[in-house]
């Protein structure tokens, strides 16, 4: 009987103790939600995902520049009860926007190709791709005109006759 009483006392203390701590404790899921909400609030950190395990937050995903990587870390570190932050973010610079360059090149292409009837040119992401045929003599002239349009690259698939 006595053993049983001692045992149940211990069990009770344990239960109370555990209960007491779990009341003060915030769950990992709650921390994760709080941290993710803070990140979502900043559009520059939209691609950042946070997971929390044992109060340790881990950041994954990508940001455009180093400073945003640091910002994501301090943002999450500032969440109450987060012990530490593991920053696994990748810095991926955004792809450059070639819309304007493509438009400029396209506008100038008609004149540049005027004397080269058998040449077709396509422009995408600042790259001029040439198809068709051209004489060996006219090729350097065409190339000089196209280089002067300052493209990112010229891909020459022309047949040189």
């Amino acid at each position: 009987m006595k053993t049983l009483r001692v045992f149940s006392m211990v069990a009770l203390i344990l239960a109370l103790g555990l209960g007491a701590t779990s009341c003060k404790q915030v769950s990992d899921a709650d921390l994760q939600t709080a941290a993710q909400e803070l990140l979502i609030a900043n559009p520059d950190l939209a691609e950042v995902t946070v997971t929390v395990a044992d109060k340790v937050a881990t950041l994954t995903g990508s940001v455009a520049v180093d400073s945003l990587k640091a910002l994501a870390e301090t943002t999450v570190a500032g969440v109450k009860n987060v012990k530490s932050v593991v920053n696994e973010l990748e810095v991926v610079p955004p792809a450059p926007d070639y819309t304007e360059l493509d438009a400029t090149i396209n506008a100038a292409l008609a004149d540049a190709l005027k004397d080269h009837a058998k040449v077709t040119a396509e422009v995408k992401d600042g790259v001029i791709t040439l198809t068709g045929e051209i004489t060996k003599k006219a090729l350097p002239i065409l190339m000089e005109k196209l280089n002067a349009l300052n493209p990112v690259q010229i891909v020459n698939n022309l047949t040189v006759k």
């Binding site: 008609a110 004149d111 350097p140 005109k145 280089n147 300052n150 690259q153 010229i154 891909v155 020459n156």
Partner: protein
Amino acid sequence: MTLAEKYRELIDLAKAHQLNVDHSGKVLRVEGTVTSSDVKNQLWAIYQRIDPHFKSNDVILNVKTNVTEGGKVKVVTMESRLNIRKGPGTDQPIVGKAEKGDIITLISKTNDQWWLVRDNDGEEGYCYSQYLEPVQ
């Protein structure tokens, strides 16, 4: 072979003339303005010697010659005469022609492609700039 090795001669000449040279990417970029068309022609000759049919797709050689407005320019077409047009564009009507080798006056540079010129008959109009080079 790296771009720097492959085009060493081109890069050396470009640097000697203070042109911008960038071979950090997959395309060698040489840009800027030179005072003489000889240098420009030399650069193109070296480029063509290394890559005769311009098939490597790894160079952008965008070098312009420093032509002053009001100065003289020479018509450097292949064999045909150079069209002088009413406006800056190949869709514009032809108002005159300049002979290959003619030396005419550059009035102003409308843009990189089209320059306003006056030929020796006093006719004014626009020519494609690639067919004009400065007279030393």
